[in-house]
Amino acid sequence: MRRGLVLVAAILAFAMPSAQAQGPRVEPPPGAVPAPTIGGPAGSGVPPSVPPSIPGVPATPDLVVDLSQARVSITSAFQGENILLFGMFDPPGEVVVVVQGPAARDTVLRKERFLGLWLNTGRQAFDDVPAYYAIAASQPLQRMLARGTGGEILSLEDRMASVRSVGSRDHDDLIRFRLGLVEVKRREGLYPAAIGQVTVQAGRLFRVDLPFPSRLPEGVYEVRAYLLRDGKIVAAVSRPLPVGKVGFSAQLAGWASHEGELYGLAAILMAVLVGWFGGAVMRRI
Protein backbone atom coordinates (compact mmCIF):
# COMPACT_ATOMS: atom_id res chain seq x y z
CA MET A 1 0.00 0.00 0.00
CA ARG A 2 2.67 2.39 1.14
CA ARG A 3 4.90 1.23 -1.63
CA GLY A 4 2.20 1.94 -4.16
CA LEU A 5 1.76 5.46 -2.91
CA VAL A 6 5.43 6.08 -3.08
CA LEU A 7 5.59 4.86 -6.63
CA VAL A 8 2.69 7.10 -7.57
CA ALA A 9 4.39 10.05 -5.91
CA ALA A 10 7.65 9.35 -7.65
CA ILE A 11 5.97 8.93 -11.02
CA LEU A 12 4.03 12.15 -10.50
CA ALA A 13 7.23 13.94 -9.73
CA PHE A 14 8.71 12.45 -12.86
CA ALA A 15 5.76 13.18 -15.10
CA MET A 16 5.45 16.78 -14.03
CA PRO A 17 8.81 18.43 -14.19
CA SER A 18 7.05 21.75 -13.69
CA ALA A 19 6.24 20.70 -10.13
CA GLN A 20 9.85 21.16 -9.28
CA ALA A 21 9.89 24.64 -10.65
CA GLN A 22 7.06 25.64 -8.30
CA GLY A 23 9.21 25.07 -5.24
CA PRO A 24 11.56 27.83 -4.21
CA ARG A 25 15.01 27.37 -5.58
CA VAL A 26 17.97 27.87 -3.40
CA GLU A 27 20.47 30.18 -4.95
CA PRO A 28 24.00 28.91 -4.66
CA PRO A 29 26.47 31.13 -2.85
CA PRO A 30 28.43 33.41 -5.17
CA GLY A 31 31.30 31.65 -6.79
CA ALA A 32 30.04 28.20 -5.86
CA VAL A 33 29.34 25.48 -8.33
CA PRO A 34 25.67 25.58 -9.33
CA ALA A 35 23.80 23.28 -7.04
CA PRO A 36 21.75 20.29 -8.04
CA THR A 37 18.02 20.82 -7.90
CA ILE A 38 16.30 19.93 -4.72
CA GLY A 39 13.69 17.35 -5.56
CA GLY A 40 10.44 16.28 -4.04
CA PRO A 41 6.82 16.90 -4.86
CA ALA A 42 5.71 20.45 -4.34
CA GLY A 43 3.71 21.26 -1.25
CA SER A 44 5.42 18.67 0.95
CA GLY A 45 5.82 21.46 3.46
CA VAL A 46 9.58 21.13 3.83
CA PRO A 47 11.73 23.96 2.65
CA PRO A 48 14.58 22.64 0.58
CA SER A 49 17.91 22.67 2.27
CA VAL A 50 20.99 24.50 1.22
CA PRO A 51 22.64 22.05 -1.12
CA PRO A 52 26.01 20.64 -0.22
CA SER A 53 28.93 22.28 -1.89
CA ILE A 54 30.49 19.42 -3.71
CA PRO A 55 33.32 20.34 -5.98
CA GLY A 56 33.08 19.03 -9.47
CA VAL A 57 29.42 18.18 -9.38
CA PRO A 58 27.67 19.51 -12.45
CA ALA A 59 24.30 21.16 -12.18
CA THR A 60 21.96 18.48 -13.39
CA PRO A 61 18.44 17.71 -12.33
CA ASP A 62 19.41 14.06 -12.69
CA LEU A 63 18.49 13.15 -9.16
CA VAL A 64 15.28 13.84 -7.28
CA VAL A 65 14.56 12.60 -3.76
CA ASP A 66 11.95 12.92 -1.08
CA LEU A 67 11.26 11.40 2.31
CA SER A 68 8.09 9.68 3.44
CA GLN A 69 8.10 12.05 6.40
CA ALA A 70 9.33 15.60 6.66
CA ARG A 71 10.62 15.00 10.17
CA VAL A 72 11.06 12.35 12.84
CA SER A 73 8.60 13.28 15.56
CA ILE A 74 9.32 11.85 18.96
CA THR A 75 5.88 11.70 20.52
CA SER A 76 4.70 9.88 23.63
CA ALA A 77 4.06 6.85 21.46
CA PHE A 78 7.42 6.91 19.67
CA GLN A 79 9.10 3.51 19.43
CA GLY A 80 11.61 4.19 16.74
CA GLU A 81 10.63 4.59 13.13
CA ASN A 82 11.45 3.60 9.59
CA ILE A 83 11.55 6.45 7.14
CA LEU A 84 11.35 5.82 3.47
CA LEU A 85 13.59 7.76 1.16
CA PHE A 86 12.49 7.55 -2.45
CA GLY A 87 13.27 9.26 -5.66
CA MET A 88 14.21 9.06 -9.23
CA PHE A 89 17.40 9.29 -11.21
CA ASP A 90 18.43 9.52 -14.83
CA PRO A 91 19.95 6.18 -15.81
CA PRO A 92 22.54 4.89 -16.13
CA GLY A 93 24.08 5.20 -12.68
CA GLU A 94 24.08 3.97 -9.14
CA VAL A 95 22.57 5.63 -6.10
CA VAL A 96 24.21 6.00 -2.69
CA VAL A 97 22.36 7.43 0.31
CA VAL A 98 24.11 8.69 3.45
CA VAL A 99 22.24 9.79 6.56
CA GLN A 100 24.12 11.56 9.26
CA GLY A 101 23.05 12.83 12.68
CA PRO A 102 24.51 15.98 14.23
CA ALA A 103 28.13 15.64 15.35
CA ALA A 104 29.10 16.05 18.99
CA ARG A 105 31.67 14.97 21.53
CA ASP A 106 31.10 11.44 22.80
CA THR A 107 32.90 9.84 25.70
CA VAL A 108 33.56 6.10 25.65
CA LEU A 109 34.00 4.31 28.96
CA ARG A 110 35.81 1.01 29.27
CA LYS A 111 35.35 -1.49 32.06
CA GLU A 112 38.16 -3.51 33.52
CA ARG A 113 38.24 -6.14 36.21
CA PHE A 114 39.43 -4.62 39.45
CA LEU A 115 39.61 -6.86 42.54
CA GLY A 116 37.16 -9.17 40.82
CA LEU A 117 34.65 -6.39 40.12
CA TRP A 118 34.03 -4.81 36.75
CA LEU A 119 34.27 -1.06 36.83
CA ASN A 120 34.95 1.75 34.41
CA THR A 121 38.66 2.45 34.48
CA GLY A 122 39.30 3.96 31.07
CA ARG A 123 37.64 6.82 29.28
CA GLN A 124 38.29 8.47 25.97
CA ALA A 125 36.48 11.38 24.37
CA PHE A 126 36.06 11.81 20.64
CA ASP A 127 35.04 14.96 18.81
CA ASP A 128 32.92 15.14 15.69
CA VAL A 129 31.11 11.85 16.34
CA PRO A 130 27.90 11.66 14.32
CA ALA A 131 24.85 10.89 16.47
CA TYR A 132 23.62 8.60 13.72
CA TYR A 133 25.23 7.22 10.59
CA ALA A 134 23.65 5.06 7.94
CA ILE A 135 24.69 4.36 4.41
CA ALA A 136 22.85 2.54 1.64
CA ALA A 137 23.74 1.80 -1.96
CA SER A 138 22.17 0.30 -5.02
CA GLN A 139 25.11 -2.00 -5.59
CA PRO A 140 27.90 -3.27 -3.35
CA LEU A 141 29.37 -0.13 -1.91
CA GLN A 142 32.98 -1.23 -1.79
CA ARG A 143 33.06 -1.65 -5.53
CA MET A 144 31.71 1.85 -6.06
CA LEU A 145 33.90 3.55 -3.49
CA ALA A 146 37.00 1.74 -4.70
CA ARG A 147 36.69 3.65 -7.93
CA GLY A 148 37.05 6.82 -5.93
CA THR A 149 34.48 9.45 -5.12
CA GLY A 150 36.94 12.06 -4.00
CA GLY A 151 36.39 11.26 -0.33
CA GLU A 152 32.88 12.64 -0.48
CA ILE A 153 31.12 9.39 0.32
CA LEU A 154 32.44 7.66 3.39
CA SER A 155 31.66 4.20 4.62
CA LEU A 156 31.01 4.02 8.38
CA GLU A 157 34.56 2.78 8.95
CA ASP A 158 36.04 5.67 6.99
CA ARG A 159 33.76 8.17 8.69
CA MET A 160 34.75 6.87 12.11
CA ALA A 161 38.41 6.93 11.20
CA SER A 162 38.04 10.68 10.89
CA VAL A 163 36.68 11.35 14.38
CA ARG A 164 39.23 13.25 16.43
CA SER A 165 40.35 11.90 19.76
CA VAL A 166 40.58 14.33 22.65
CA GLY A 167 43.85 14.17 24.54
CA SER A 168 46.68 11.80 23.82
CA ARG A 169 46.70 8.03 24.03
CA ASP A 170 48.75 5.31 22.49
CA HIS A 171 47.73 4.40 18.96
CA ASP A 172 46.57 0.80 19.45
CA ASP A 173 44.54 1.67 22.50
CA LEU A 174 42.91 4.54 20.64
CA ILE A 175 41.87 2.15 17.89
CA ARG A 176 40.32 -0.15 20.48
CA PHE A 177 38.35 2.75 21.97
CA ARG A 178 37.20 3.80 18.52
CA LEU A 179 36.00 0.28 17.79
CA GLY A 180 34.29 0.29 21.18
CA LEU A 181 32.49 3.49 20.24
CA VAL A 182 31.20 1.95 17.01
CA GLU A 183 30.18 -1.19 18.88
CA VAL A 184 28.09 0.73 21.43
CA LYS A 185 26.46 2.87 18.77
CA ARG A 186 25.63 -0.20 16.76
CA ARG A 187 24.10 -1.87 19.78
CA GLU A 188 21.87 1.16 20.22
CA GLY A 189 20.83 1.03 16.58
CA LEU A 190 22.41 4.39 15.82
CA TYR A 191 24.88 2.98 13.34
CA PRO A 192 22.85 0.38 11.44
CA ALA A 193 25.50 -2.24 10.87
CA ALA A 194 24.75 -3.45 7.39
CA ILE A 195 25.00 -1.27 4.34
CA GLY A 196 21.39 -0.68 3.41
CA GLN A 197 20.02 -1.70 0.08
CA VAL A 198 18.82 0.97 -2.30
CA THR A 199 16.19 -0.79 -4.38
CA VAL A 200 15.91 0.32 -7.98
CA GLN A 201 12.69 -0.18 -9.91
CA ALA A 202 11.96 0.35 -13.56
CA GLY A 203 15.57 1.41 -14.01
CA ARG A 204 15.01 4.87 -12.61
CA LEU A 205 12.94 4.81 -9.42
CA PHE A 206 14.68 4.04 -6.18
CA ARG A 207 13.78 3.61 -2.56
CA VAL A 208 15.51 2.82 0.71
CA ASP A 209 14.22 2.26 4.23
CA LEU A 210 16.08 4.19 6.92
CA PRO A 211 15.74 2.67 10.40
CA PHE A 212 15.73 4.96 13.42
CA PRO A 213 15.78 3.43 16.93
CA SER A 214 13.66 4.60 19.86
CA ARG A 215 16.67 6.02 21.67
CA LEU A 216 17.41 8.70 19.13
CA PRO A 217 19.42 11.87 19.78
CA GLU A 218 17.67 15.03 18.71
CA GLY A 219 18.94 17.47 16.15
CA VAL A 220 18.85 18.17 12.43
CA TYR A 221 19.97 15.09 10.53
CA GLU A 222 21.19 15.30 6.99
CA VAL A 223 20.07 12.94 4.28
CA ARG A 224 22.26 12.98 1.18
CA ALA A 225 21.71 11.09 -2.02
CA TYR A 226 24.37 10.73 -4.70
CA LEU A 227 24.18 9.59 -8.27
CA LEU A 228 27.34 7.91 -9.44
CA ARG A 229 28.42 7.12 -12.96
CA ASP A 230 31.67 5.28 -13.50
CA GLY A 231 32.67 5.96 -9.91
CA LYS A 232 32.15 9.69 -10.25
CA ILE A 233 29.51 11.73 -8.48
CA VAL A 234 27.38 13.31 -11.16
CA ALA A 235 24.58 14.58 -8.95
CA ALA A 236 23.96 15.08 -5.26
CA VAL A 237 20.91 16.09 -3.30
CA SER A 238 20.72 16.96 0.37
CA ARG A 239 17.66 17.09 2.58
CA PRO A 240 17.55 18.08 6.24
CA LEU A 241 15.66 15.70 8.47
CA PRO A 242 14.81 17.31 11.80
CA VAL A 243 14.55 14.82 14.65
CA GLY A 244 12.87 16.13 17.74
CA LYS A 245 10.40 15.62 20.48
CA VAL A 246 6.97 17.06 19.75
CA GLY A 247 3.87 17.71 21.80
CA PHE A 248 3.79 16.59 25.40
CA SER A 249 7.25 14.95 25.36
CA ALA A 250 8.81 18.08 23.90
CA GLN A 251 7.13 20.30 26.44
CA LEU A 252 8.25 18.18 29.37
CA ALA A 253 11.82 17.78 28.13
CA GLY A 254 12.13 21.48 27.37
CA TRP A 255 10.77 22.36 30.74
CA ALA A 256 13.09 19.92 32.48
CA SER A 257 16.16 21.34 30.84
CA HIS A 258 15.34 25.05 30.92
CA GLU A 259 13.37 25.41 34.12
CA GLY A 260 14.64 22.59 36.28
CA GLU A 261 13.55 24.21 39.54
CA LEU A 262 9.97 24.74 38.41
CA TYR A 263 9.89 21.26 36.90
CA GLY A 264 11.13 19.77 40.16
CA LEU A 265 8.44 21.58 42.16
CA ALA A 266 5.77 20.44 39.72
CA ALA A 267 7.04 16.85 39.96
CA ILE A 268 6.78 17.01 43.76
CA LEU A 269 3.29 18.51 43.56
CA MET A 270 2.20 15.76 41.16
CA ALA A 271 3.55 13.08 43.50
CA VAL A 272 1.90 14.65 46.55
CA LEU A 273 -1.49 14.94 44.85
CA VAL A 274 -1.49 11.46 43.31
CA GLY A 275 -0.10 9.92 46.50
CA TRP A 276 -2.67 11.71 48.69
CA PHE A 277 -5.79 11.12 46.64
CA GLY A 278 -4.73 7.78 45.22
CA GLY A 279 -4.00 6.50 48.71
CA ALA A 280 -7.29 7.84 50.04
CA VAL A 281 -9.30 6.30 47.18
CA MET A 282 -7.61 2.92 47.40
CA ARG A 283 -8.21 2.67 51.13
CA ARG A 284 -11.94 3.06 50.55
CA ILE A 285 -12.07 0.17 48.13
Binding site: A77, R110, W118, S214, I268, G279
Partner: protein
Protein backbone atom coordinates in the same frame (compact mmCIF):
# COMPACT_ATOMS: atom_id res chain seq x y z
CA UNK B 1 1.78 -0.92 25.03
CA UNK B 2 4.84 1.27 24.73
CA UNK B 3 5.24 4.78 26.03
CA UNK B 4 8.08 7.17 25.29
CA UNK B 5 9.75 8.51 28.44
CA UNK B 6 10.79 12.07 27.60
CA UNK B 7 13.71 12.35 30.04
CA UNK B 8 14.97 8.76 29.89
CA UNK B 9 14.68 9.28 26.09
CA UNK B 10 13.51 5.79 25.25
CA UNK B 11 10.28 3.88 24.97
CA UNK B 12 9.25 1.37 27.55
CA UNK B 13 6.32 -0.94 28.12
CA UNK B 14 3.65 0.77 30.24
CA UNK B 15 2.67 -2.44 32.00
CA UNK B 16 6.23 -3.30 32.97
CA UNK B 17 6.50 0.07 34.70
CA UNK B 18 3.06 -0.20 36.34
CA UNK B 19 3.98 -3.70 37.58
CA UNK B 20 7.27 -2.43 38.93
CA UNK B 21 5.50 0.36 40.82
CA UNK B 22 2.94 -2.17 41.99
CA UNK B 23 5.64 -4.48 43.36
CA UNK B 24 7.27 -1.57 45.19
CA UNK B 25 3.87 -0.56 46.58
CA UNK B 26 3.15 -4.14 47.65
CA UNK B 27 6.38 -4.17 49.65
CA UNK B 28 5.59 -0.76 51.08
CA UNK B 29 2.22 -2.03 52.26
CA UNK B 30 3.57 -5.32 53.56
CA UNK B 31 6.70 -4.22 55.34
CA UNK B 32 6.17 -0.54 55.90
CA UNK B 33 9.29 0.39 53.95
CA UNK B 34 9.29 2.21 50.65
CA UNK B 35 10.18 -0.54 48.25
CA UNK B 36 12.51 1.81 46.43
CA UNK B 37 15.43 -0.48 47.20
CA UNK B 38 13.82 -3.03 44.91
CA UNK B 39 12.34 -0.70 42.29
CA UNK B 40 15.51 1.26 41.51
CA UNK B 41 17.71 -1.77 40.68
CA UNK B 42 14.85 -3.24 38.64
CA UNK B 43 14.49 -0.01 36.66
CA UNK B 44 18.20 -0.17 35.91
CA UNK B 45 17.89 -3.84 34.90
CA UNK B 46 15.18 -2.99 32.36
CA UNK B 47 17.45 -0.38 30.79
CA UNK B 48 16.55 2.99 32.31
CA UNK B 49 19.75 5.04 32.72
CA UNK B 50 20.74 4.85 36.42
CA UNK B 51 20.73 8.63 36.83
CA UNK B 52 17.12 8.83 35.59
CA UNK B 53 16.06 5.75 37.57
CA UNK B 54 17.37 7.18 40.84
CA UNK B 55 15.94 10.67 40.37
CA UNK B 56 12.52 9.48 39.19
CA UNK B 57 12.36 6.91 41.95
CA UNK B 58 12.90 9.70 44.49
CA UNK B 59 9.84 11.38 43.00
CA UNK B 60 7.88 8.15 43.45
CA UNK B 61 8.98 7.95 47.09
CA UNK B 62 7.30 11.33 47.70
CA UNK B 63 3.94 9.89 46.67
CA UNK B 64 4.50 6.65 48.52
CA UNK B 65 5.40 8.31 51.80
CA UNK B 66 2.61 10.89 51.75
CA UNK B 67 0.16 8.08 51.19
CA UNK B 68 1.24 6.23 54.33
CA UNK B 69 1.94 9.40 56.32
CA UNK B 70 -1.74 10.30 55.82
CA UNK B 71 -2.78 7.24 57.81
CA UNK B 72 -0.03 7.42 60.41
CA UNK B 73 -0.66 11.09 61.11
CA UNK B 74 -4.36 10.51 61.73
CA UNK B 75 -3.50 7.74 64.18
CA UNK B 76 -1.10 10.09 65.97
CA UNK B 77 1.89 7.92 65.21
CA UNK B 78 4.27 10.71 64.22
CA UNK B 79 6.82 12.08 66.66
CA UNK B 80 7.04 15.50 65.09
CA UNK B 81 10.00 16.63 67.16
CA UNK B 82 12.02 13.53 66.34
CA UNK B 83 10.94 13.87 62.72
CA UNK B 84 12.22 17.43 62.51
CA UNK B 85 15.55 16.56 64.12
CA UNK B 86 15.98 13.65 61.71
CA UNK B 87 14.98 15.94 58.88
CA UNK B 88 17.68 18.45 59.78
CA UNK B 89 20.33 15.81 59.15
CA UNK B 90 18.37 14.44 56.21
CA UNK B 91 18.28 17.75 54.35
CA UNK B 92 22.04 18.27 54.75
CA UNK B 93 22.78 14.66 53.82
CA UNK B 94 20.53 14.59 50.77
CA UNK B 95 21.82 17.91 49.45
CA UNK B 96 25.39 16.66 49.81
CA UNK B 97 24.30 13.36 48.31
CA UNK B 98 22.95 14.99 45.15
CA UNK B 99 26.20 16.92 44.82
CA UNK B 100 28.15 13.67 45.22
CA UNK B 101 25.86 11.99 42.69
CA UNK B 102 26.51 14.74 40.15
CA UNK B 103 30.25 14.43 40.69
CA UNK B 104 30.26 10.64 40.35
CA UNK B 105 28.17 10.88 37.23
CA UNK B 106 30.64 13.25 35.69
CA UNK B 107 33.62 10.98 36.35
CA UNK B 108 31.66 7.98 35.02
CA UNK B 109 31.55 5.96 38.26
CA UNK B 110 27.93 6.48 39.30
CA UNK B 111 26.69 3.09 38.08
CA UNK B 112 29.44 1.30 39.94
CA UNK B 113 28.90 3.25 43.16
CA UNK B 114 25.14 2.67 43.01
CA UNK B 115 25.65 -1.06 42.54
CA UNK B 116 28.31 -1.45 45.25
CA UNK B 117 26.36 0.64 47.76
CA UNK B 118 23.28 -1.48 47.10
CA UNK B 119 25.19 -4.72 47.52
CA UNK B 120 26.77 -3.60 50.82
CA UNK B 121 23.57 -2.10 52.23
CA UNK B 122 21.22 -4.84 51.19
CA UNK B 123 23.40 -7.76 52.19
CA UNK B 124 24.07 -6.26 55.63
CA UNK B 125 20.42 -5.46 56.29
CA UNK B 126 19.25 -8.74 54.79
CA UNK B 127 21.60 -10.86 56.89
CA UNK B 128 20.73 -8.97 60.07
CA UNK B 129 17.02 -9.36 59.43
CA UNK B 130 17.34 -12.99 58.53
CA UNK B 131 19.33 -13.66 61.70
CA UNK B 132 16.85 -11.75 63.82
CA UNK B 133 13.76 -13.40 62.41
CA UNK B 134 15.26 -16.89 62.45
CA UNK B 135 16.45 -16.61 66.05
CA UNK B 136 13.10 -15.18 67.15
CA UNK B 137 11.30 -17.95 65.34
CA UNK B 138 13.48 -20.67 66.85
CA UNK B 139 13.28 -19.16 70.34
CA UNK B 140 9.51 -18.98 70.18
CA UNK B 141 9.26 -22.52 68.95
CA UNK B 142 11.42 -23.79 71.76
CA UNK B 143 9.72 -21.75 74.45
CA UNK B 144 6.58 -19.94 73.38
CA UNK B 145 6.22 -18.27 76.80
CA UNK B 146 9.67 -16.63 76.71
CA UNK B 147 9.58 -12.87 77.21
CA UNK B 148 10.67 -10.70 74.31
CA UNK B 149 14.20 -9.33 74.45
CA UNK B 150 14.91 -5.79 75.53
CA UNK B 151 13.86 -3.33 72.88
CA UNK B 152 16.87 -1.13 73.20
CA UNK B 153 20.11 -0.86 75.10
CA UNK B 154 21.47 2.27 76.68
CA UNK B 155 25.02 3.18 76.01
CA UNK B 156 26.25 5.63 73.35
CA UNK B 157 22.92 7.41 73.13
CA UNK B 158 23.11 8.59 76.69
CA UNK B 159 26.63 9.94 76.72
CA UNK B 160 26.59 12.43 73.83
CA UNK B 161 25.89 16.14 74.43
CA UNK B 162 22.87 18.18 73.22
CA UNK B 163 20.31 16.00 74.88
CA UNK B 164 16.71 16.55 73.88
CA UNK B 165 13.48 15.22 75.27
CA UNK B 166 11.29 13.41 72.77
CA UNK B 167 7.98 13.04 74.58
CA UNK B 168 6.15 10.95 72.07
CA UNK B 169 9.04 8.51 71.76
CA UNK B 170 9.56 8.56 75.53
CA UNK B 171 13.26 9.26 74.96
CA UNK B 172 15.82 11.62 76.42
CA UNK B 173 18.76 11.32 74.06
CA UNK B 174 21.35 13.42 72.32
CA UNK B 175 20.04 15.19 69.23
CA UNK B 176 23.31 14.41 67.48
CA UNK B 177 22.32 10.80 66.99
CA UNK B 178 19.07 11.38 65.05
CA UNK B 179 20.76 14.21 63.12
CA UNK B 180 23.60 11.85 62.17
CA UNK B 181 21.16 9.09 61.27
CA UNK B 182 19.14 11.51 59.14
CA UNK B 183 22.33 12.63 57.44
CA UNK B 184 23.36 9.09 56.45
CA UNK B 185 19.85 8.27 55.23
CA UNK B 186 19.84 11.52 53.27
CA UNK B 187 23.01 10.55 51.39
CA UNK B 188 21.65 7.07 50.69
CA UNK B 189 18.40 8.57 49.52
CA UNK B 190 20.13 10.85 47.04
CA UNK B 191 22.49 8.24 45.62
CA UNK B 192 20.19 5.22 45.58
CA UNK B 193 16.85 6.88 44.92
CA UNK B 194 15.24 5.25 47.91
CA UNK B 195 13.43 6.65 50.91
CA UNK B 196 15.84 4.73 53.06
CA UNK B 197 13.11 3.24 55.24
CA UNK B 198 14.76 -0.16 55.11
CA UNK B 199 17.73 1.32 56.97
CA UNK B 200 15.94 4.04 58.90
CA UNK B 201 13.25 1.86 60.48
CA UNK B 202 15.62 -0.73 62.01
CA UNK B 203 18.01 2.05 63.08
CA UNK B 204 15.21 3.96 64.82
CA UNK B 205 14.21 0.82 66.70
CA UNK B 206 17.60 -0.63 67.54
CA UNK B 207 19.88 2.42 67.69
CA UNK B 208 17.62 5.23 68.89
CA UNK B 209 15.40 2.91 70.86
CA UNK B 210 12.11 4.41 69.65
CA UNK B 211 8.85 2.58 70.36
CA UNK B 212 7.73 0.66 67.26
CA UNK B 213 4.33 2.40 67.17
CA UNK B 214 5.77 5.78 66.19
CA UNK B 215 8.66 4.48 64.04
CA UNK B 216 6.81 4.04 60.75
CA UNK B 217 4.97 7.35 60.92
CA UNK B 218 8.05 9.33 61.96
CA UNK B 219 10.26 7.74 59.33
CA UNK B 220 7.61 8.49 56.71
CA UNK B 221 7.60 12.11 57.80
CA UNK B 222 11.36 12.43 57.37
CA UNK B 223 11.37 10.43 54.10
CA UNK B 224 8.67 12.60 52.54
CA UNK B 225 10.71 15.77 52.88
CA UNK B 226 14.06 14.22 52.07
CA UNK B 227 12.65 12.62 48.90
CA UNK B 228 11.08 15.93 47.93
CA UNK B 229 14.45 17.62 48.44
CA UNK B 230 16.21 14.99 46.31
CA UNK B 231 13.58 15.31 43.57
CA UNK B 232 13.94 19.07 43.54
CA UNK B 233 17.75 19.07 43.52
CA UNK B 234 18.02 16.31 40.91
CA UNK B 235 15.59 18.19 38.68
CA UNK B 236 17.38 21.50 39.20
CA UNK B 237 20.98 20.31 38.81
CA UNK B 238 20.84 17.18 36.63
CA UNK B 239 17.45 17.39 34.92
CA UNK B 240 17.04 13.64 35.38
CA UNK B 241 13.55 13.42 36.92
CA UNK B 242 11.23 11.73 34.44
CA UNK B 243 7.70 12.58 35.57
CA UNK B 244 6.09 10.18 33.11
CA UNK B 245 8.14 7.33 34.53
CA UNK B 246 7.47 8.49 38.09
CA UNK B 247 3.72 8.81 37.48
CA UNK B 248 3.49 5.23 36.17
CA UNK B 249 5.44 3.94 39.18
CA UNK B 250 3.22 5.95 41.53
CA UNK B 251 0.00 4.66 39.95
CA UNK B 252 1.27 1.09 40.25
CA UNK B 253 2.27 1.76 43.84
CA UNK B 254 -1.10 3.25 44.79
CA UNK B 255 -2.77 -0.01 43.75
CA UNK B 256 -0.06 -2.26 45.20
CA UNK B 257 0.18 -0.74 48.69
CA UNK B 258 -3.27 -1.67 50.07
CA UNK B 259 -2.90 -5.19 48.69
CA UNK B 260 0.41 -5.47 50.53
CA UNK B 261 -1.16 -4.13 53.73
CA UNK B 262 -3.92 -6.75 53.54
CA UNK B 263 -1.40 -9.53 52.94
CA UNK B 264 0.68 -8.29 55.86
CA UNK B 265 -2.31 -8.47 58.19
CA UNK B 266 -2.64 -12.18 57.46
CA UNK B 267 0.98 -13.14 58.11
CA UNK B 268 2.77 -13.18 61.47
CA UNK B 269 5.47 -10.53 61.88
CA UNK B 270 8.34 -12.94 62.14
CA UNK B 271 7.44 -14.66 58.87
CA UNK B 272 7.03 -11.27 57.24
CA UNK B 273 10.49 -10.15 58.34
CA UNK B 274 11.99 -13.44 57.21
CA UNK B 275 10.40 -13.07 53.77
CA UNK B 276 11.65 -9.53 53.49
CA UNK B 277 15.16 -10.64 54.47
CA UNK B 278 15.15 -13.27 51.73
CA UNK B 279 13.94 -10.73 49.18
CA UNK B 280 16.57 -8.18 50.18
CA UNK B 281 19.31 -10.81 49.96
CA UNK B 282 18.08 -11.95 46.55
CA UNK B 283 18.34 -8.41 45.15
CA UNK B 284 21.80 -8.02 46.71
CA UNK B 285 22.99 -11.30 45.20
CA UNK B 286 21.73 -10.37 41.76
CA UNK B 287 23.49 -7.01 41.93
CA UNK B 288 26.70 -8.62 43.13
CA UNK B 289 26.48 -11.12 40.30
CA UNK B 290 26.14 -8.24 37.82
CA UNK B 291 29.33 -6.71 39.20
CA UNK B 292 31.29 -9.96 39.03
CA UNK B 293 30.04 -11.27 35.71
CA UNK B 294 32.12 -10.54 32.64
CA UNK B 295 30.03 -7.93 30.80
CA UNK B 296 28.85 -8.62 27.25
CA UNK B 297 30.65 -5.46 26.23
CA UNK B 298 33.28 -3.60 28.21
CA UNK B 299 32.46 -0.38 26.40
CA UNK B 300 29.68 2.02 27.21
CA UNK B 301 28.92 5.62 26.42
CA UNK B 302 29.39 8.43 28.87
CA UNK B 303 27.93 11.86 28.41
CA UNK B 304 27.38 13.36 25.00
CA UNK B 305 28.25 17.02 24.73
CA UNK B 306 27.19 19.17 21.84
CA UNK B 307 30.01 21.62 21.38
CA UNK B 308 29.22 25.07 20.11
Amino acid sequence: MEIYLPIAEQSMNIFVLLALGGAAGLLAGMFGVGGGFLATPLLIFVGIPPAVAVASQANQVVANSISSLQVQWRRGNVDLRMGLVLLLGGMIGSSGGVWLFTYLKRIGQIDFVIAVTYVVMLSTIGLLMLYESLSTYLRRRRNPEAPRGKLHTHYLVHRLPLKLRFYKSKLYISALLPVGLGFVIGILSAILGVGGGFVLVPAMIYVLGMPTTVVIGTSNFQILFVAANVTFLQAATNGTVDVVLALLLILGGVVGAPIGARLAAKLPGVVLRGLMAVLVLAVATELLFELLRTPSSVYSLGSREVLP
